[in-house]
Subunit: 362 residues, 2 copies
Amino acid sequence: MSKNYAVIMAGGRGERFWPQSRQARPKHLLPIVGEQTMIAQTVARLTGLVPPEQIFILTNAEHVAAIQAVCPEIPTDQIVGEPMGRDTAAASALGALLVRRRDPEGVLAVLAADAAIHDSAGFQKSLRAAYATAAQNDFIVTIGVKPAYPATGYGYLRRGEKLGEGEGRPWYRVVKFVEKPDLATAERYLAEGDYLWNVGMFIVRAANFETAFRLHAPAIAAGMQDLDQRLNAGDTLPDALAAVYPTLVKISVDYAVMEKAANVAVFEAAFDWDDVGEWPAIVRHAVADAAGNVTRGDVALYDARGNVAVTGEGHLIALLGVEDLVVVHTPDATLVCPKSRAQELKKLLQVVAAKPGSARWL
Amino acid sequence: MSKNYAVIMAGGRGERFWPQSRQARPKHLLPIVGEQTMIAQTVARLTGLVPPEQIFILTNAEHVAAIQAVCPEIPTDQIVGEPMGRDTAAASALGALLVRRRDPEGVLAVLAADAAIHDSAGFQKSLRAAYATAAQNDFIVTIGVKPAYPATGYGYLRRGEKLGEGEGRPWYRVVKFVEKPDLATAERYLAEGDYLWNVGMFIVRAANFETAFRLHAPAIAAGMQDLDQRLNAGDTLPDALAAVYPTLVKISVDYAVMEKAANVAVFEAAFDWDDVGEWPAIVRHAVADAAGNVTRGDVALYDARGNVAVTGEGHLIALLGVEDLVVVHTPDATLVCPKSRAQELKKLLQVVAAKPGSARWL
């Protein structure tokens, strides 16, 4: 029986949860939801299904040490630093290469490092079915999430006919990938019922994934072949990556492969999922007070409603008469913005970046 | 010619400018407006008119050391710690006693420690006229400020007939003291033109002030007589204050003496004056950006309008899409409130006080 591998994609620029997240400490290195860092939770969620020796983490070279510190069970040579960000196509292809070089029969699951999933049992049930299905079929198997609301911030996939069952769960052909829709379209997707959120979870035999790249993204496949040869010739992985990565095109795996491939299948997730994309999203994972405030740390409130207030050890946030704000304190920077505008944080960070000596805040 | 003394009232509980102000560091110990602490500015404003040896500062016992540190030119035994707050009547009477014991002919000016006055020359001109007038007349001479707007947060006094001139400036009888008016009344006062803000600035011969207390506030006068005798008997001032202060009634000098005395006169201030009573008031003493934001320290703004943001060394406040907020950062506490509700800060501080371990924040 083939072995299960996981390739955890730990990219991220540390912008969406600023000021807690920084370039040196992106979201997956923070306990945005829960007590552990998001990446440690992602690793822990695989316990019993994928042993640490079969988990790879792909990240920015500058984050390797921090990830080693919070994921000590992962062999250090499996925490791989990309010399530069080349989006998810390159990273997925690299994951497939690393797994196939280790184990030509290996099945890998590509997983995000920073999603919030509370139902670990449901997650393992879904993933186990996907591994089994991908092992036995020439499909790229995704796990799609039934929309909880008409989200405009996610891509969707449309499922077609049922192709079979894996571990007692049905799987379907994917007939279409669609990009982030407008609200009316998202509402229609929700009503029609056969659209699922594309949450970037792919399970596929490594060799099969390499074939898909050769078919649909030949330039990236060629880069991976170059990398493979350099490793065969005795180059270290960092040296080989430094030589090859700059030549790779920067493109998402959805664009490069998934939207083109005919052999994509989907299981509907048997678990909750949230990418927790911005500060106001933590409200979905917390208990609010009677006035709708969600707080972490020492927060004093007088006639304050619907706020998200996050502070650290010993520092008090005191809110008087304010509504629906995000207030986040860290020792060297404090953010204040309406919840409704948290998605504009990048614009604020451009202002920060223009300030003298701004590096310490980014 | 009689000598000029100043008695600076440095009370205050450190609430209105929280979190910068604390019980241990009230407003007059902060540079709320300008570069120096408010009390150091108050002392500096007297340079050339009242020598340091003739300045007394009355404060809470716990603040004596901090005031000594920022006002090193004042003889340390003239920075007097009250064992407890007993409002302005007791403090004024104590000031009169201390000056009269030093100099039976002395004229004292009672001044607040924390007002913002930018025109020091105009201030000295007004105060010089008041000293001269108080020295030569049996009047309690006040300096009233021409209302700049229909303020509802100040008491007013109404001037009557002109009584004379001092240093070329006219002075008038005060015919009425009035408490904080409602807006309609304040607007009428502004229109009528003979109402001035009562800013608690009194200039009077010490012996004359003592007479006024004996007439209108005999219980406080009796307490001062007790104090006088204890000092004559060789008690230290702290010991004498510890014995007498608890027996004194807590009442303002306006209620206890001014409203009752027939011999109150007023000069109109020849200078700007602002008590800077809450955070939004600093806007009147600062240059705003094009969007009306007033900032101190490192502040990054994106689409933010009309805010007051104050931070300290190295800590960034970043505001995105917010309007008319007060945001003040200190190393251990951050305040966020609408400018329009800054006057409710005391209610918020009651919430803070109820938190475990709150002493560090108060």
